[in-house]
Structures are given as structure tokens and as C-alpha cells.
């Protein structure tokens, strides 16, 4: 079968939805002729026309605000934020507006919007482009946050996200866009939202991660002498605690990894749930591998700031030696 990168897999998912559903609209900065700065939307404007796939003026608040208006009239907008670092311009549309629209209308109205954005770091972008702000959105109820870590998942999760009647923030890791390739079916398929994925089975320690950190965790698992189970969250809000708790109850040890700063992130919350529900099953204190609580590292020094497989493996060892 064909091997695709995440960029190609996402492009295919968008093309399938544009083809299948005339209400699907794709728009954002430089996504038309230019095909997006990472080429995720390459060729889509040519194929589906400038009314379905279009460049917008440079204004993130405008892009997401317009998405809400379009969705109100039954379109299914798939806006792009060029980098997730620019989400701050559009936070009201996300946290104040679209995520609570269903709630505010007593469950009567949905906003089926899928916001795509590249996030994370490790590719030496200019200052303020790389950021892992996902924790800010995972605090917001009413919007799912989905993060694929492989080309197969990217395609299936994006289709599920676009088909979901609720808003989704779909985060695409910068470093994974072209660095992983795998077999991806040509036809349409979906990968379920709200479900974590056991990417590597084991019974000694559970390692939970998402995005690029899944790959670091798998590398660490391969290097480790222990039997490591690696779980990819895939949807980071809401979290599939079921899958995680089953694993933790089996292994009795847990290490969680995130590329975002330590405090107030996805993993802190996850450990809270584990403490409440798995306490009696634990053989060691749960451990977190994260960067420190500073702003995202300056480009040149990203590699000493972002967690890597070495640090994860070390932490796995400490956990098992407890």
C-alpha cells in the first residue's frame, strides 16, 4: 500500500470531505494558491474552487469568528490557524463563543467547526511560532482537542472531527508533518474521537503521551529493559480515562509525558484522575516528564528544553527502581 506523510494524509482527508459534503469550507491565511505554508491544503483550491477553499485576510479573530457565522447557516467550516502560536488572537471565538454555544442554546444548536493548527516545536521556527498552548483550550469545556501522531490516525481523526457536530481543535505537530510515513488507505475511513490508542503493549509500566512525544515514548520503550505500554491519547480533551486506568491497574506504574510546560497541562489533570481512581493499584509514585514552566524555548535551544526519549527512559527506570 502507499506510504503517506501526515501532510498528505490530511490533504486526502480534506479532499474527501470537500468532495462528499458541499457544505464543507476550507479557509485561512495562505491556504489557497499557496496550499498553506506546510502544503496541507495543496491543490484543493484548484480542485474545489475559490468559493469552497479560500484565502482570508490576515486576522485570526476574524477567521474563527466568521467560522461561527458560517456554521450558524449550516456550513461545516474547517478554518486553519497558520500556527497555533497565533491562537491567542482568536481565543474569544474558541473559549468564549463556539465552545459554549450548544450550552447557551440549551442543547438546541451545534457549531460543527474544525479548527486546524500546527503546534509544538522542534523545527526551529522563528520566535513565537512554536507553542504548546493546548492546555489553555483543554480547560475549556465544549470543544474537543484532537492530536494525531501518525499519518493513519491523522486522516481518520480529521474526517471524524469534520463530521462531528461539535467544535474540534485539531492540532498537527510541526515535527511530525513529514518525518513519519506509513500505509494509509486511499478510501474513506474514520478513527474514533475520545478514544486513546495503545501503540505498544506491555505490562511493567504505562507511558502516556500525545503528538510528537508518542514517538519519543516509543523510542524510550524500545531502549528500555522494562515491558513498557505506550498509550497515545489521540483526543486530549476529553481524555479516555478508561483505557488509561485499565493499563495503569495492570502495570502498577505510570509515567506521563508532555511537550507543554509542566503546570496546568493535560497530564497534570490526567494524574489527578489516576490518583483518585488507581491509588490502590500503584507500585510507585506517578511521574511526569515535561519541560519546565518557562515560555517555549528559543529556537536554537529547543532540543534541550523539549523532553526526549533519553529523559523518558531515565524516568521509566526511576519509576521501576522505586
Amino acid at each position: 500500500m502507499r506510504q503517506l506523510t501526515i501532510v498528505q494524509a490530511l490533504n486526502e482527508a480534506l479532499a474527501i470531505k470537500l468532495e462528499e459534503d458541499g457544505d464543507t469550507l476550507v479557509f485561512g491565511e495562505d491556504i489557497g494558491k499557496n496550499g498553506g505554508v506546510f502544503r496541507v491544503t495543496d491543490g484543493l483550491q484548484d480542485k474545489f474552487g475559490g468559493d469552497r477553499v479560500f484565502d482570508t485576510p490576515l486576522a485570526e479573530s476574524g477567521i474563527l469568528g466568521m467560522a461561527i457565522g458560517l456554521a450558524e447557516n449550516k456550513f461545516r467550516p474547517v478554518p486553519e490557524l497558520q500556527f497555533f502560536g497565533f491562537v491567542l488572537e482568536a481565543m474569544d471565538s474558541i473559549a468564549g463563543q463556539m465552545s459554549r454555544y450548544r450550552y447557551r442554546t440549551g442543547g438546541a444548536k451545534n457549531l460543527p467547526i474544525t479548527i486546524r493548527a500546527p503546534f509544538g516545536g522542534g523545527v526551529h521556527t522563528p520566535e513565537l511560532h512554536s507553542d504548546s498552548f493546548e492546555g489553555m483550550v483543554t480547560q475549556v469545556p465544549g470543544i474537543r482537542v484532537v492530536v494525531p501522531s501518525s499519518p493513519y490516525d491523522a486522516k481518520g481523526l480529521l474526517i471524524s472531527s469534520i463530521e462531528s457536530d461539535d467544535p474540534v481543535l485539531f492540532l498537527e505537530h510541526l515535527k511530525l508533518y513529514r518525518s513519519v510515513k506509513e500505509e494509509v488507505p486511499k478510501e474513506k475511513y474514520t478513527v474514533p474521537l475520545d478514544k486513546a490508542n495503545i501503540v505498544r503493549a506491555g505490562d511493567g509500566v504505562t507511558v502516556v503521551a500525545y503528538g510528537q512525544m508518542v514517538h519519543e515514548a516509543v523510542l524510550a520503550a524500545e531502549k528500555s529493559d522494562a515491558s513498557v505500554e505506550v498509550i497515545d491519547l489521540r483526543t486530549i480533551s476529553p481524555i479516555d480515562m478508561d483505557t488509561i486506568e485499565k493499563s495503569v491497574k495492570k502495570t502498577g506504574n505510570v509515567v506521563v509525558v508532555q511537550e507543554a510546560q509542566r503546570s496546568s497541562g493535560v497530564m497534570g489533570n490526567l494524574l489527578g484522575e489516576i490518583a483518585e481512581h488507581c491509588f490502590m493499584y500503584l507500585d510507585s509514585p506517578p511521574k511526569r516528564v515535561t519541560p519546565p514552566d518557562t515560555a517555549f524555548a528559543f529556537g536554537a535551544a529547543e532540543n534541550i528544553w523539549i523532553p526526549d526519549s533519553v529523559k523518558i527512559e531515565e524516568t521509566i527506570r526511576e519509576t521501576l527502581e522505586f
Binding site: 495562505d30 489557497g32 482570508t56 476574524g62 491567542l88 534541550i304
Partner: protein, 365 residues
């Protein structure tokens, strides 16, 4: 009397409000000496030297980026008049709020060259400015500089300081919410601020026409009650003259000024951009014919102020400066996680000490 329902007439009227200021034409002739700035021969030569500097800088840094020596770079070739003649009209006490593309004027305002290079590489030392450099770090979040400039401009008024802030934004950036808010704030408070919209034709790939239905970008000033001037951005004398005027106007408390410079970026948006996807060579060639260096060279040669010797001397000087700066970059120690943690708060939270221990010794080479 305009008919209130005549949309065409209204748009036409707006179009007439902002004639393009041009002083030096493509042949190096003065086309309008009524607005010729108060500038000495020495200053003319210095301005030309700076533009030559800018052009060589652009070529060299582009190459250094391609070789992987420096980090990402947003080319400025084509915008020398817009960037360097505008900065040239400032005083050292004036404040500069540059964008990622406006590193050359920031260097002219006092940023040591090696610091500029460190910034491209993603090293915090690039933003550690020498004492007395009145500038904020290059802005990457498009539009943020506009609201901040309004604040600085207000601060000068409140402190009764006789200086201005000058900030740049692109045609793309003029669509951003912060652009409108900043302009409006500045107008509302008579902030001592100059906003320069460098209209170089494109955002990244998005053409100026997609950004707005407005006939000009300068006319956006009107909605905020701000004075606006449209300038031939390839004409260094026009840019200089406009900024000189704006500086006087703003420092005297008349209010902020918005200047739109009509210019063009010769290179890609950044080094990871491929302009062939969205624009054609003919357009580029047409703009290159209007180039600022060509017209200024002709003008100065006619006045007997410039020759090939001065030009090659200037070029050689730039090459030496760049070489020295690269050496300083090589000698700059790598960043540490410890350092990042230390720089977050003026009083370090207790929790940070624990985090510092777990990241101790992590230094980038």
C-alpha cells in the same frame, strides 16, 4: 454636494484624498521640489550608504541562511527606502518597534549586528539590547506592535517627552484587529506615534487585493481620525520627507500619523517560502526597474556625490562587518534551561527551584 446614496462617488472621493508623494523619479530626477526635505549632502550620501548596506546585507544573510549558518530570515531587499530612509528621519531618542522583516532599520537604530544574527538563530541574547537602544524586540505576532506603539506614544505625551515611536506593519498586517484598535487608540489619545504600513504587495502569498476592499491602505487612517500620507516606497527622499513631517506633527501633539509606503519584496517571504507559487517574474522585473538604489545612485552621481569607488568601499565595509559579527556569534555561549528559568520572574517562585534541579546542566552548544 455628494449624494449620500452614491457609493461610487464616495469611493472616488476617498481615492482623491491620498495622492502618492514622490520626490525622486526612476531616472534620479527631482519631480517635486516643493516637498524636498531639509537634508544635507553628507546626509544624502549617508542615506545612500545605508541603502547599499541594506542591499548587501540582504544578499549575504539570504546566503548564510541557505548555508544553514543563520536561522530563519525574512528578506528585506526592495524595501530599503521604506525601512532605512524612514529610520534615518528619526532621532536616537525615538522609539522603534520593528517587525521580523525590519531588522536593518533596527540595526541602524543601534542593535549590534551580531545580536541581529543571534535573533535569527533563536538565541535570547539577540533580544538583550544595549543600554540606550530605544526599541522593542522584533515583533512576530502581527499587529501587536500597533497597539503597543499607541501605548508608547501615549507615554511620551504623558511624560511630556519630545520624541515619537515609529512602528512598521505589512499590508497583510493591516487586516489584523490590533491594527484598527491601535490606530484608533493612538488617535483617541493624540499618541506621539508614526505607523508605517509597508505595502509590499503580499502577505505571505496572499495579494494585497485579498486583504481588503479598500482602495488604499492609508485610507484606513481616516476612520480613526488619524492623518495619513501615501508615499512612493521606492523613493528614499519621499519616505524621508514624509517621516520627517510626521515626526514634527506627532511630537507637536497634533496626533499620530499613518504612512503607507508602496514597495515590493524582491525575495521570498521567508527562506521557507517559494514565491513562484503565487507571483510571476514580470511583476518582479517591473518593480526592480523602479528600484531605490538605482534612482538614488543616478541622483547622487549627477550631483557629484557618488561614484563606483564609494559604492564598492561601502560594500566591502558591509562584508567586513558581517564577518566580524559572525565571529561574535560563534563566540556566544549556548543557552541553558537554567537561564530560561531565571529569566521568567524577577522573584523566583519556590516551585521553580525544584524544576531547575531537574533540568540542571542542560546547555545548548
Amino acid at each position: 454636494m455628494l449624494n449620500p446614496f452614491d457609493a461610487e462617488a464616495q469611493f472616488e472621493g476617498i481615492g482623491k484624498l491620498y495622492p502618492v508623494l514622490r520626490i525622486l523619479d526612476e531616472e534620479g530626477e527631482i519631480v517635486d521640489d516643493t516637498l524636498y526635505p531639509d537634508i544635507s549632502d553628507d546626509e544624502l550620501v549617508e542615506l545612500m550608504k545605508r541603502m547599499v548596506w541594506g542591499r548587501i546585507y540582504d544578499t549575504r544573510v539570504t546566503n548564510l541562511n541557505r548555508q544553514g549558518v543563520l536561522g530563519n530570515y525574512a528578506p528585506s531587499g526592495g524595501q530599503e527606502a521604506s525601512q532605512l530612509a524612514s529610520q534615518f528621519a528619526l532621532e536616537p531618542e525615538d522609539y522603534l518597534l520593528p517587525t521580523y522583516r525590519d531588522i536593518p532599520p533596527l540595526v541602524m537604530h543601534g542593535l549590534p549586528l551580531h545580536k541581529a544574527f543571534l535573533w535569527y538563530k533563536g538565541h535570547v541574547e539577540g533580544n538583550l539590547f544595549p543600554e540606550g537602544l530605544n526599541a522593542m524586540p522584533p515583533q512576530v505576532i502581527i499587529g501587536a506592535q500597533i497597539v503597543q506603539a499607541a501605548g508608547l506614544g501615549l507615554s511620551f505625551k504623558l511624560r511630556k517627552e519630545n520624541r515619537v515611536v515609529l512602528t512598521y506593519i505589512g499590508d497583510g498586517g493591516s487586516s489584523q484587529g490590533d491594527f484598527y484598535e491601535g490606530l484608533n487608540m493612538a488617535g483617541s489619545f493624540d499618541a506621539k506615534a508614526i505607523f508605517i504600513v509597508q505595502n509590499n504587495g503580499f502577505g505571505i502569498s496572499t495579494p494585497r487585493e485579498v486583504q481588503t476592499r479598500a482602495g488604499t491602505l492609508v485610507q484606513k487612517a481616516a476612520a480613526a481620525g488619524v492623518f495619513g500620507i501615501q508615499v512612493d516606497g521606492m523613493d528614499p527622499l519621499a519616505v524621508y520627507s514624509a517621516v520627517k513631517f510626521a515626526r514634527k506633527y506627532a511630537t507637536e501633539g497634533c496626533g499620530p500619523v499613518l504612512i503607507e509606503t508602496l514597495t515590493y519584496r524582491y525575495g521570498p517571504h521567508t527562506m521557507s517560502d517559494d514565491p513562484a507559487r503565487y507571483r510571476d517574474d514580470e511583476e518582479l522585473t517591473a518593480w526592480e526597474k523602479k528600484d531605490q538604489l538605482i534612482r538614488m545612485r543616478k541622483f547622487l552621481q549627477k550631483k557629484g556625490l557618488w561614484d563606483d569607488g564609494i559604492e564598492s568601499q561601502t560594500e566591502e565595509q558591509v562584508r567586513i562587518e558581517i564577518k566580524e559579527a559572525l565571529e561574535k556569534v560563534r563566540q556566544t555561549p549556548g543557552q541553558t534551561v537554567d537561564g530560561f528559568i531565571d529569566n521568567m520572574y524577577s522573584v523566583k517562585p519556590e516551585l521553580y527551584k525544584r524544576q531547575q534541579e531537574s533540568h540542571a546542566g542542560r546547555r545548548h552548544s
